[in-house]
């Protein structure tokens, strides 16, 4: 069973055969930060941006945990998870970036976060990556409704990048 986030699933429970979700934080009742387990693997989920204006779109990051990560997490304050896994990582991390509409995943792509990426740079890099990915996606063959969704999402992300 794949543990990659799949379209249509809830953004904080993004795989079909999910075994457990540990919610570390929430906002307005929605889990925004936590861990989920599926297929003998744990992944961190984090809502990078909550409300992209006029779109009901949110952006999510999924970080698969390695054995070394699990050892580190055993002695880590949950609030420091992002720092230890991403912002202070001395090696690149392979993650999945997801876009959710009304908290259901509508777009996902695998992405490589360069080492030592701080939080401010990460946000800009995520938005640039998504804009490129959505632009490429618009050239793919897809049903009209999905094409419209990809186009509108791309416009919303572009506005955020411009801001």
């Amino acid at each position: 069973m794949s543990t990659l986030p799949m379209l249509g699933n809830l953004a904080w429970a993004p795989v079909p055969a999910i075994e457990n979700v540990e919610v570390l934080d929430r906002f307005n009742g929605v889990p925004t930060f936590g861990l989920f387990s599926a297929g003998n693997e744990r992944q961190l989920f984090w809502r990078v941006t909550g409300y992209v204006p006029r779109s009901s779109v949110s952006i999510w990051l999924y970080v698969p945990l390695t054995g070394a990560d699990e050892s580190r997490l055993a002695h880590c304050d949950p609030a420091d998870l992002l720092g230890s896994l991403i912002f202070e990582s001395h090696v690149p991390r392979y993650v999945t970036v997801g876009i959710a509409k009304d908290y259901r995943l509508v777009f996902e792509r695998e992405w490589r976060i360069p080492e030592n990426t701080d939080s401010e740079r990460l946000l800009g890099d995520v938005l640039d990556f998504l804009l490129d990915a959505l632009t490429i996606a618009q050239h793919e063959d897809m049903p009209p409704a999905r094409r419209e969704l990809v186009y509108r999402t791309s416009q919303a992300i572009r506005e955020l990048v411009t801001a």
């Binding site: 934080d25 929430r26 307005n28 929605v30 909550g50 409300y51 949950p78 908290y103 401010e120 801001a163």
Partner: protein, 131 residues
Amino acid sequence: MPPDPMPDLPGDLRLTQYGERPAYGDGFRDRLREEIGETEISMILGEVDSSAAAILVTRYLAPGAVTRVTTVERLQAAGFRVVHSPSKTNRLHVSVFPPVAAAGQPIEWDDKLAQIFNACFTDHEGGTEGS
């Protein structure tokens, strides 16, 4: 584990709501969207500035961060239920729920209730009204 919640919040305790101003976000949430899982309005215990609120809520210095402030008693006087509900990474998390009707059911969080909710806030740090 999150710390134990405070059972009774003092009426004069200040509460901060986090938002993101356009074009970074939709301002302040002023109603529930239960159909997509937004079952409470999140607040922060005490008065914090927009940078501190952004770190608590988004985990980074989110651009466009804004805050507005109310008190427990202002919300309660308007009928809202206010509960200290710490998460594992935010011990200052407070949940606001809609007033309950005589039959015991929460009343609908419509435009009128959103206006009442917005009227509970007096101090803004760069914010715009609800969404």
